[in-house]
């Protein structure tokens, strides 16, 4: 039996959507290996998140404790290790988000397990399951095998749909916490980027700005508001401090795959394209007709974004009637 443990992610007691995409990946994997899917939710005051996860038909373990309020990798790794052992998990999966990327390698070290980061799919079945993952900023898709008895992976949410609600919810049980000891890391503060817009990784439409905006995001914001879209950015504008780091789309930022991605004033460096080329339809607006972004855009418009974005905004408003 090869059980799969999903380490869910929650924020302030609410399940992050990426967790349900990871459940879907786990179900795919369990189908190949004949195992059962378990979930684990860690934090403080997480009953709601656990119920949301259990609704997908997954048996859920909770680790609900004041010591787990902040996701300190040292503490979380110990809890995840224990949950993996108690559920007899051969596979441990977590969303490929900043939390999973931070913590899961520590779990791998504790379990003596190999780990594949940012997986996009599986191959094979039984004991011979392989993982597909990007290398060199997505220029290469590698099929990898993990040689250890327990195998870990972070899962790219855009490559798996969200798990549906099951006919009956899974049971929710508290996990007896291991001894956490004194953590060497202390949480001081979280400065949240507050936004009324949809989350970048979950939005149906994303409007992104690059160097071409020269730091003026008004045309990007205006167009995004008209479309109910999330706002993204290339690395250059985040480095310049024009927008928060949370906006970055690319190799080391967020991976997005919306129905529609509109890139304004973005030249299209491979590091940016790595984070958005899974989008269904890509529109690019750039002054430079030679910009590499046009090589991957479904529709390109050569011109000044400060003229085109407001025009497009007005046209969309008019079309809505």
């Amino acid at each position: 039996m090869s059980n799969v443990l999903v380490v869910a992610e929650q924020f302030e007691g609410k399940l992050k959507k990426a967790s349900l995409h990871t459940v879907k990946a786990a179900q795919d994997l369990a189908g190949r290996t004949g195992g059962k899917v378990f979930g684990l939710v860690l934090g403080k005051g997480i009953g709601g998140a656990a119920a949301e996860l259990a609704a997908a038909g997954v048996e859920v373990l909770t680790a609900d404790d004041a010591k787990l309020e902040h996701a300190l990798a040292e503490n979380y790794a110990k809890v995840i290790e224990k949950a993996a052992k108690e559920t007899g998990a051969t596979y441990v999966l977590a969303p490929s988000a900043s939390q999973g990327k931070d913590i899961l390698p520590r779990v791998a070290a504790r379990l003596g397990a190999g780990m594949a980061s940012d997986i996009m799919g599986f191959g094979g079945s039984g004991a011979d399951v392989t993982f597909q993952r990007p290398m060199w900023a997505g220029s290469v898709i590698a099929e990898v095998e993990i040689a250890t008895p327990v195998k870990l992976a972070t899962v790219r949410s855009t490559e798996f749909p969200a798990a549906e609600k099951a006919a009956s919810a899974g049971a929710v049980k508290a996990l007896a916490l291991p001894d956490l000891g004194e953590a060497k890391t202390k949480f001081l503060e979280f400065r949240q980027v507050k936004s009324a817009r949809p989350e970048l990784t979950e939005a149906r439409v994303v409007v992104s700005g690059g160097r071409g905006t020269k730091g003026d995001f008004k045309p990007i914001d205006g167009l995004a508001d008209e479309l109910g879209a999330a706002v993204g950015a290339s690395r250059a504008v985040v480095d310049a401090g024009w927008v928060p780091n949370d906006y970055q789309v690319g190799q080391t930022g967020k991976t997005v795959a919306p129905e529609l991605y509109i890139a304004l004033g973005i030249s299209g460096a491979i590091q940016h394209i790595a984070g958005m080329k899974g989008s269904k339809v890509i529109v690019a607006v750039n002054k430079d007709a030679e910009a590499p972004i046009f090589q991957i855009a479904d529709y390109g418009l050569v011109g000044d974004l400060f003229k085109i974005a407001p025009e497009l905004q007005a046209a969309i408003k008019a079309a809505k009637g």
């Binding site: 990798a73 988000a97 900043s98 939390q99 990327k101 931070d102 899961l104 390698p105 520590r106 070290a109 504790r110 190999g114 780990m115 594949a116 392989t130 290398m135 060199w136 900023a137 997505g138 220029s139 290469v140 898709i141 990898v144 095998e145 993990i146 060497k184 890391t185 202390k186 949480f187 001081l188 979280f190 400065r191 949240q192 980027v193 439409v205 690395r235 985040v238 480095d239 401090g241 780091n245 949370d246 190799q251 080391t252 967020k254 529609l260 491979i270 080329k277 339809v281 890509i282 529109v283 046009f294 991957i296 855009a297 529709y299 390109g300 418009l301 025009e311 497009l312 969309i316 079309a319």
Partner: protein, 264 residues
């Protein structure tokens, strides 16, 4: 204060990476190599901490074949004091690298290890965290600077990390915002792009680097079995997105989005 930085040699990220027709690897002919950009940021941060404290030592560690010395000399030319090359005769993975680094750390006893958050070749992003767990240390991954890379603080080469007593304070870029943490030393920090802009190596720096000591070690001498836990079976190119149509104006774009792509 003694700071250890891990530097990996990677294919120049500006170059096009192509998969060999048989899927056994990537085409290496004509390839240029560079230090992993995140590792350069790690070296820069170590140098700034040393400068701010007015003393200490920055040691650079590379794991790979003899050719990796080129990238190590680059870090030495930036100002690192000495190098350690762990010579590999066969391939390893992030876990093998972390276990080798753990042994080097046991020997060197640094106060702080700074690594890139990921190497831009395998993009695994695991080594720093694996190392922290093997050592039983705290970690601060994805460390950045609060101020932008175009700020006065950056121009004045102010470090993004802060040493306070026997701790390091770091600002982590995480989903949804910035997390501020304080980690007891010794600790592992991994670098985000926005921690600093690495300096160029000066000509005198390059000359001096040639004379700086580089110690060579082997996995055998360190007692580490580097057989990889994660193995690449096959490589392929991702499905290509074909470039589309250049449209003349907004009206045409609207028409295409509505009737052809059907996304509006």
């Amino acid at each position: 204060m003694k700071i250890l930085c891990a530097v990996k040699r990677v294919e120049d990220p500006e170059q096009k990476i192509k998969v060999k027709p048989d899927g056994s690897g990537i085409v290496l002919e004509g390839m240029n190599y560079k230090p992993n950009p995140y590792d350069e940021i790690a070296v820069e941060e170590a140098l700034r901490l040393k400068e701010k404290q007015g003393g200490g030592e920055v040691v650079v560690v590379s794991i790979g074949d003899a050719s990796f010395v080129t990238e190590m000399r680059h870090a030495l030319a930036m100002g690192a004091d000495r190098g350690i090359l762990v010579k590999l005769s066969s391939a390893t993975d992030s876990d093998g690298a972390a276990r080798l680094l753990a042994k080097v750390v046991e020997k060197e006893k640094p106060d702080l290890v700074i690594c890139g958050r990921q190497a831009v070749d395998d993009d695994q992003g695991q080594t720093g965290q694996l190392l922290a767990e093997y050592l039983g240390w705290g970690q601060a991954t994805f460390a950045a600077k609060l101020e932008s890379l175009e700020s006065a603080e950056e121009k004045n080469k102010v470090p993004g990390l802060q040493i306070e007593g026997n701790t390091v304070k770091a600002i982590r870029e995480v989903d949804g915002g910035l997390e501020f943490v304080q980690v007891a030393l010794p600790a592992v920090v991994t670098t985000e792009l926005r921690l600093n802009l690495p300096r160029y190596a000066s000509l005198p720096g390059i000359m001096k680097a040639k004379k700086k000591p580089v110690e060579e070690l082997t996995p055998e001498a360190l007692g580490v079995d580097v057989a990889p836990k994660v193995k690449v079976r096959k490589m392929s190119s991702p499905p290509a997105r074909k470039g589309g149509t250049i449209v003349p104006d907004v009206a045409t774009l609207m028409e295409k989005l509505k009737n052809e792509a059907k996304v509006l």
